[in-house]
Symmetry: C2
């Protein structure tokens, strides 16, 4: 039964989704890339264009019934993905290669399905993820190329990149990221803000700085707040001592500013 499966995988069932059908339910995992510039993030919001809504719409069109599409996590408004992972359950027996092609035909060019495969019925893209990697891309030259303005944070001011490169690995390990969590109420109140970061590093290529971070999970705005903090380190406004205090998780201490979403890319999700 569709309703039972939806409950088992922690998804809300959608009205109309319980129609009895003899075809077996298949669990589909898709890898997708998107330009988040013109979307209000991953998660469905009434009346606003979101990635999840666009993907659910085309899967529903293929299935002929409403389908809940679950992502590995939310990305904020304006954030991009090189390889986000999502999953949904389908009765339509369409081969996965044809499904990928049909989805790309129906989706706007800003969202592309890179791969589609059949997976275990219990696969859950958020709960089963063991690591995620993000990149935050900063462009330092005075003039930002117009063709990349949507995909870079333009910061044409002095930065001590050595200080940033020194500071980045301090985030590795298990820390209480309270100081790096979004201050709005949408964040899970009362829940632990301890997260494990597996790697955290800065790379420079000419006028470009790329901050790359791989971790078990991230709080809302966490990567953008870390990137903003690393820029503060590059401005020599804070050093190792101040960063150590920030990583203690004292509720009263706030990290650097949340930098703009356009520089942020979800690079991949590991299972």
């Amino acid at each position: 039964m569709r309703a039972g499966k939806a409950e088992a995988s922690g998804e809300k069932s959608l009205p109309g989704a319980a129609a009895a059908d003899a075809k077996p339910m298949r669990r589909i995992k898709v890898t997708l890339s998107y330009d988040g510039t013109d979307f209000h993030g991953w998660q469905i919001q009434p009346g606003l264009p979101t990635i999840q809504e666009a993907v659910e719409r085309v899967v529903a069109e293929i299935e002929g019934a409403p389908v809940r599409v679950t992502g590995s996590g939310r990305t904020d408004a304006g954030v991009h993905a090189l390889a986000q992972v999502a999953a949904f359950s389908l009765r339509n027996p369409i081969p996965t290669d044809n499904l990928r092609r049909a989805m790309n035909r129906l989706l706007p060019a800003e969202i592309r399905i890179l791969a589609a495969e059949e997976t275990a019925p219990e696969f859950h893209p958020m709960r089963d993820a063991i690591a995620k990697t993000y990149e935050y891309r900063i462009f330092r030259a005075e003039v930002c190329p117009p063709f990349e303005r949507r995909y870079l944070h333009h910061y044409p001011y002095p930065l001590n990149v050595d200080r940033m490169a020194e500071a980045a690995p301090l985030f590795e390990g298990e820390h209480d990221f309270t100081s790096f969590a979004a201050s709005d109420k949408s964040d899970e109140l009362g829940r632990s803000k301890v997260r494990a970061i597996f790697s955290s590093s800065i790379e420079c290529f000419a006028d470009r700085i790329v901050y790359r971070v791989r971790g078990g999970g991230f709080l809302k705005h966490m990567v953008r707040n870390i990137a903003g903090t690393l820029i503060e380190a590059g401005k020599e406004n804070l050093g190792v001592k101040e960063l150590t205090v920030l990583l203690r998780g004292d509720a009263g201490v706030k990290a650097g500013p949340t930098v703009p979403p356009n520089g942020l890319f979800l690079i991949g999700v590991e299972y």
Copy 2:
């Protein structure tokens, strides 16, 4: 006198531009890059966003009076420029480096002034150009990266690239490009359609095909019609014999289709 200078350089004077002022008139040459996706081309059109209109608006704001900005040539709606050249006359004594910065502050991020310099009073970016280079970029893989969809012509169908590479140099030399001119009436009727092409070649990088052409001048839609014809050669719909007929300039013979503007870049203008 402003009016006299404007006449001498073949520009129409603008209302209000003749205000007497003791400061000498300077001729400014700017090199600019733009993402043409959201513009209706270079040339001013009433009620539509164009590059020329956007640049004239910011120069007028800096000058405190209307200023005519002349380009090296029109680019069509949706066509991009890595390095377009334009010129205008200014009484404001602002240093050119500050002028460039002020223009970039006022312009939308889709248009960037890469360089500004003072030039000879008689400099005319269209009449003085000796060569222009364009690139037409084709992407062949099945899935077009969402971050490049505005800057590539996505053509995920079989192409014989060797045939295209063979055909491209046939355009070199002086030819009557009647078969490659836009068929609409906006093209200069009755004028010669003979143009000189200095180089014309195809390069391949993995899933990308780049057609690069350098010539003394181009008719409306000419590069896109050549690119469309090269794609027809790649589809093995026409060969050297048919191309030779097209390059004879018979009015009744039409070249391949005009391919979409998003793959086209004005790469540079030589003086």
